[in-house]
């Protein structure tokens, strides 16, 4: 992470080289950058500006329009909690609140130790198995507050205070 600046420069250069027209390919370029870095860093946007002439301002404007892009480093484990309609009517809001409380972070945040980041997504398309959450892409179906605690334990999360 510390040596990211140097790497970011080459990374962006490599990504841009894959696209014939950088302006038309801006979204895939940003997706590729995020896939490699985990997020869109200010350094990456400045490197992109130097490489393509697309101002960091404009690229940032495009990126912020879409929910996929994040601008802070994600945690080691990425939790996505679905808040689609089917999950909502099966109490996804309670699961989300409980996740926030349990992890001690807000939606969109990362735990201080950098282990877990929590995102709320509109729909994962597994509506028949609601409520659903994913950890690092693995889908967990029929989640309850208790089950959620067991899932987090699988990934090594232990609540500091209180019972497990």
């Amino acid at each position: 992470m510390a040596a990211a600046t140097v790497d970011t420069e080459t990374l962006v250069k490599d990504v841009v080289a894959r696209y014939a027209d950088a302006r038309a390919g801006l979204i895939p370029i940003l997706q590729d950058i995020q896939a490699a870095l985990g997020y869109i860093s200010p350094q990456a946007l400045r490197a992109l500006e130097r490489e393509t002439g697309i101002s960091a301002n404009e690229a940032y404007g495009v990126a912020t329009f879409y929910t996929q892009f994040r601008f802070t480093a994600p945690g080691k484990h990425r939790i996505q909690v679905c808040n689609g309609t089917a999950c909502h009517v099966r109490a996804a809001a309670r699961i989300t609140e409980e996740l926030c409380r349990y992890l001690g972070v807000a939606v969109g945040g990362t735990t201080p130790d950098g282990e877990f980041s929590l995102e709320r997504v509109a729909c994962l398309g597994c509506c028949a198995l609601s409520p659903v959450l994913t950890v690092d892409g693995k889908v967990y179906a029929g989640v309850t507050p208790k089950k959620m605690q067991r899932i987090l334990k699988e990934y090594g999360f232990e609540r500091k205070a209180g019972k497990s």
């Binding site: 089917a86 909502h88 309670r94 597994c126 507050p145």
Partner: protein
């Protein structure tokens, strides 16, 4: 049909060999939904057992057959009997099915959903007789769950690309005529006649022309497109070839949401197979038709379901809509004529071209021909993906196919069309599902999401939920949508928090009408639908929240209190262990109490309390409810039969 002749012969031989295989074959539903239910462990277990037994059974990953509530789904082919479809197969069941059915020749009737033949066998009824399958007409989904979506030969063997070859012979004008006669209308929601869109684009000046497949299934609560793309990607791609030919396009894009990695992966594989077979390129089969397909990953913005916003996104810009006209069919992607088509619309095209317009229009209603897929979810007993003729009534879908409400609840409403749609109340359950009837009821067909609601669903909260979604997804370009959705959301949030005033309902109606009329694009024009339909059919629930501060569904946290009846509590501690918030306290064997400040309203305690005691109840205003549906084990967990 001389093109691909060799490939067809090979494909048919391969498929026949599989169907008549002397060695056992196990098909496991491994779409995203199947994987979530544990399909990967099942696959591993079958492979393990096969190796142990030295039986050389083939295990094939297929897409989703539809009845998601019975996942993981497995179809077993063993010589000497018809294939058997099993539901709720975990690793344990897999071992047993292997031992009893595959090795022993006696199918396990207790987990069987049906046999894949016309008559019963081994005491198991045909799958087509299963209550969830009986009312369905599976055309678009026919291949889903039956073929290996990554095997080109499987698609060809079932007549894949015959529709496109016929289209090549017929020529574009006749293809448009055929689709016109079939009566196909866009499956993305609005129901615009497909042939008309094509005619505009075909006659529009300017080259190249573009075709975009809208696979940005952004409606929360919908998964029809995901299932089709994961289960039968070639059907959609063949549809793109046919549409591309009809409008004279030379390039196609699939705009697929990044949240569907498996669909993207399968599309990439399928496009590679098309290229190898000569189905893409500069001069396809020497016909002079040039076409290529690229994938664009959407980055997550609901508004990109709107055509002009989608185009902006493909061009690499913020996905904001443009005023129409000009329509994309005249001036779309990079200012060129562009047709945007929903995944399911495209999936219908190979069928129309292969079987003819007359066959296609043989099912459906007067104004809406063919079938439609629906994603059944919410409080319904049998969740999953179903396909029925247009004009089928809601009752048939919700009760006959879906099995009614889960856990013995009472049917209250069904929500169609996602955030752009509305809620149809229980008394309208005999409404035929077609474009016109749904619009008359105040909602829209949408892309096919159907969320079933019961008495535990608060209609005000549902309206607030959808408004919260559209408000967040409003791109901010036009004032009515940007300001109006926020204003409506603010009022709804006040009402569910118990702070509503009688004047609020009037204000809501006024803003809703303005947003509907004044917004630039479909997102804003339809955003008030959830509010307007719930106000129309469930106004009393709004009034209860405002006047008596009660939520009859017991779901709006600020209006609901969880209590323990000291006369019924035996102090067993079950609820204490179930509570994730440590909100329940009390001495062992004496009545417990709930710390209202710590309670998170999750209902875990309600489910934990032994039915014989039923000591926990909820109050809201004057209402009081002792949980009557104690048979449910996990609040919210879908029924998973056969899971040990």
């Amino acid at each position: 049909m001389s093109h691909l002749a060799e490939a067809y012969a090979r494909a048919k031989a391969e498929w026949r060999a599989l169907e008549e295989s002397p060695a056992p074959v196990v098909y496991v539903g491994a779409a995203t939904c199947g994987r979530a239910a544990g399909a990967e462990e099942v696959i591993a277990r079958f492979r393990e057992e096969s190796e142990k037994a030295g039986l050389d059974a083939r295990v094939i990953e297929v897409g989703c057959l539809g009845p998601c509530c019975f996942e993981p789904l497995v179809i077993v082919h063993a010589p000497g009997g018809p294939d058997v479809c099993y539901g709720g197969v975990g690793a344990k069941e897999a071992s047993e099915i292997f031992a009893r059915h595959i090795a022993g020749g006696a199918p396990c009737a207790e987990w069987a959903l049906g046999v894949l033949s016309d008559t019963a066998a081994h005491g198991i009824a045909p799958l087509t007789e299963h209550p969830m399958m009986r009312g369905q007409v599976r055309r678009v989904l026919a291949n889903c769950g039956r073929i290996d979506p990554e095997n080109f030969a499987h698609y060809l063997a079932g007549g894949g690309y015959e529709g496109f070859l016929r289209a090549l012979e017929m020529g574009p004008e006749n293809v448009i005529e055929e689709v016109k006669n079939a009566g196909l209308r866009g499956r993305g929601g609005a129901g615009f006649p497909t042939w008309r869109k094509w005619t505009f684009a075909r006659s529009a000046p300017g080259t190249p022309k573009y075709l975009i497949c809208n696979a940005d299934e952004g409606d929360p609560g919908a998964f029809m497109n995901r299932s089709l793309l994961e289960g039968d990607p070639h059907a959609v791609l063949e549809g793109m070839l046919i549409a591309g030919l009809a409008i004279g396009a030379s390039e196609g894009y699939v705009y697929c949401r990044a949240e569907y990695p498996l669909a993207i992966q399968r599309l990439e594989i399928a496009i590679g197979q098309m290229r190898d077979a000569g189905l893409l390129g500069a001069d396809i089969f020497g016909s002079g038709f040039a076409f290529d397909i690229h994938i664009k990953k959407g980055a997550g913005a609901f508004v990109c379901g709107e055509e002009t916003a989608l185009i902006a996104s493909v061009e690499g810009r913020r996905g904001m809509p443009q005023p129409k006209p000009p329509f994309p069919a005249i001036s779309g992607l990079w200012g060129k004529p562009t047709v945007i088509q929903n995944v399911e619309t495209l999936g219908n095209l190979p069928l129309i071209l292969r079987n003819g317009a007359e066959w296609y229009a043989g099912v459906g209603s007067e104004s809406s021909k063919g079938t439609k897929t629906f994603a059944l979810a919410g409080k319904i007993a049998r969740t999953g993906l179903v396909e029925v003729p247009l004009g089928t009534t809601l009752r048939q879908i919700v009760f006959d196919i879906g099995g009614g409400i889960a856990d013995g609840g009472t049917f209250k409403a069904v929500q169609t069309g996602g955030p752009s749609g509305g809620c149809i109340p229980a008394e309208k359950v005999d409404l035929p599902v077609d474009y016109e009837s749904l619009t008359a009821a105040g909602t829209i067909m949408g892309s096919g999401g159907m969320i079933v609601l019961d008495e535990d669903s608060c209609m005000v909260d549902i309206a607030r939920f959808f408004l919260g979604f559209t408000q967040a997804e409003s791109c901010g370009k036009c004032v009515p949508c940007r300001v109006g959705t926020r204003a409506m959301l603010g009022i709804l949030e006040r009402i569910v928090a118990g702070n509503g005033t009688p004047k609020d309902l009037e204000t809501l109606e006024e803003i809703a009408a303005t947003v509907k009329q004044g917004s630039l694009c479909g997102l804003g024009q339809t955003a008030p639908n959830p509010v307007q339909t719930t106000l129309r059919y469930f106004r009393h629930e709004y009034e209860e929240h405002i006047q008596s501060k009660e939520c009859r569904a017991f779901t709006c946290p600020p209006l609901v209190w969880y209590q323990i009846d000291p006369a019924r509590c035996i102090g067993c501690g079950l609820c204490v262990r179930a509570c994730p918030a440590d909100a329940i306290h009390g001495e062992s064997k004496s009545p417990h109490f709930i710390d209202q400040n710590a309670c998170i309203h999750c209902s875990s305690c309600l489910a934990a309390c032994a039915p014989a005691n039923a000591a926990i109840y909820r109050t809201s205003g004057e209402r009081r409810r002792v949980e009557p549906r104690m048979e449910r084990k996990d609040p919210g967990a879908p029924a998973q039969p056969g899971k040990g």
